[in-house]
Symmetry: C2
Subunit: 209 residues, 2 copies
């Protein structure tokens, strides 16, 4: 995520309709966030998120005018896919993608807020676990939850993670965190708006994988 | 792997030089083996193996005459990649692919031999664990080993696995296992020949992921 903090999300307009093109451009920098975690163990997660983005982009590219905003995609797909919807198309891809975005948001927030495990202050497992519990856990069956617990041990320590966020340059922790806070403003507003849209359109599902 | 048992590997010639084209055609049916395991948890494994096959195929397609046999690929790449070799190109891809093939071989053999856990006779965890221990475990660090242990719980029970091997038709267990034994003849000979080639050419590495 060398690139993440340098690629602010666009502010969302008052009507909260998110421009698909701008959104796709911003999220395209996110998969590299998982490289910041430093282990190949996270490659399947990166691949899953990449898959979501590719799927949404393919729908958008098929008709950039019709699919100008994320709302328009959900509305159009609702009538295209009939009873399969919302478990179909870009609607499904964005449903999962938003959970990964929420995970990133909560993790960064928790770090910016200085939350730590006093018994393991150099680690970020407590922050990752908080993000996982709130964003993903309930959509994962017990086996995937167990896989998560194992993968957690591959997480980097706090200082390596912050360094990776700062393009691998040595940066004072406070400087890095203030960049994180800046990044979170539009990012959180975007994620919130997407969640709200799924809620309003009755497009959220709670099945487990 | 509805297709696996129906796609016998070609017999290997006396000089044990494996024809690249025939090999690629046969292994192309293997990734679906992991669908037989019945859970999406195995998707990253399928993707990894697909990646290996794609990489070998790309090298072969770049010059089908020069790369007619797997031996020719290793020899040519040894001089192309210099000190990076064998951790490069199709040599690296086949190094990992052969471990997945060995895993499949040992799992099928163990089932054909009737090995079972008497305390859990309807499960195949004992067979999968045997295959994992012999083919892969030593190349995995402790975190991936832990992930494996968690993923093991997603394995199907014996009867569902055999049914999946038999194109989801109800087939007598003995009929299915005799097909497995038939399949294993050329398959095992091929895998053995590849291992021997890596040994002879000093192309094997033992680093862990
Ligand atoms: C040798 C032994 C090896 C054994 C192999 C075991 C492998 C274990 C499997 C690991 C799972 C990898 C994560 C992927 C999980 C995915 O299954 C889920 C659902 O994925 C969705 O599924 C839909 C259909 O239901 C569509 O296909 C979506 O695709 S569609 O675009 O086609 O519509 C797709 O994203 N995504 C998720 O749960 C999203 C995950 C986001 C993760 C965010 C960060 C977590 C960070 C954790 C840090 C510690
Ligand atoms: C929400 C939380 C989610 C957290 C996510 C956690 C995800 C956990 C990660 C799971 C790992 C998936 C398996 C893949 C492992 C791979 O890392 C290894 C090495 O993979 C090799 O690496 C090389 C570089 O060193 C090249 O890139 C090779 O690629 S190259 O082609 O480019 O040269 C590549 O195959 N392959 C392997 O270990 C091979 C695995 C074969 C597996 C055979 C069957 C096992 C069956 C088990 C049944 C129970």
């Amino acid at each position: 995520m060398t690139l993440l903090l340098d690629n602010q999300f666009p502010p969302i307009p008052e009507n909260k309709e998110i421009d698909t093109k701008g959104f796709l451009e911003s999220v395209s920098h996110l998969p590299s966030f998982f490289d910041c975690l430093g282990s190949k163990v996270f490659a399947p997660i990166k691949a899953d998120i990449n898959g979501n983005i590719t799927k949404i982009k393919a729908v958008y590219d098929s008709d950039p005018v019709k699919f100008e905003t994320l709302q328009q995609i959900l509305l159009a797909e609702k009538s295209i896919h009939g009873s399969e919807w919302p478990k179909a198309g870009a609607t499904l891809a964005l449903m999962w993608l938003k959970r990964g975005l929420r995970f990133i948001q909560i993790l960064l927030e928790s770090l910016a807020d200085g939350e730590r495990d006093d018994n393991n202050p150099i680690l970020i497992r407590i922050n990752i676990t908080k993000a996982y519990d709130q964003a993903l856990k309930s959509y994962h069956g017990w086996i995937v939850q167990k896989v998560f617990k194992a993968a957690l041990f591959a997480a980097p320590c706090r200082s390596d993670f912050l360094k990776a966020l700062s393009k691998n340059q040595e940066v004072a922790e406070e400087d890095c965190l203030s960049k994180v806070r800046q990044f979170l403003i539009n990012f959180t507003a975007t994620v919130d708006a997407i969640y709200e849209m799924y809620y309003t359109m009755n497009a959220e599902l709670d099945y487990q994988v």
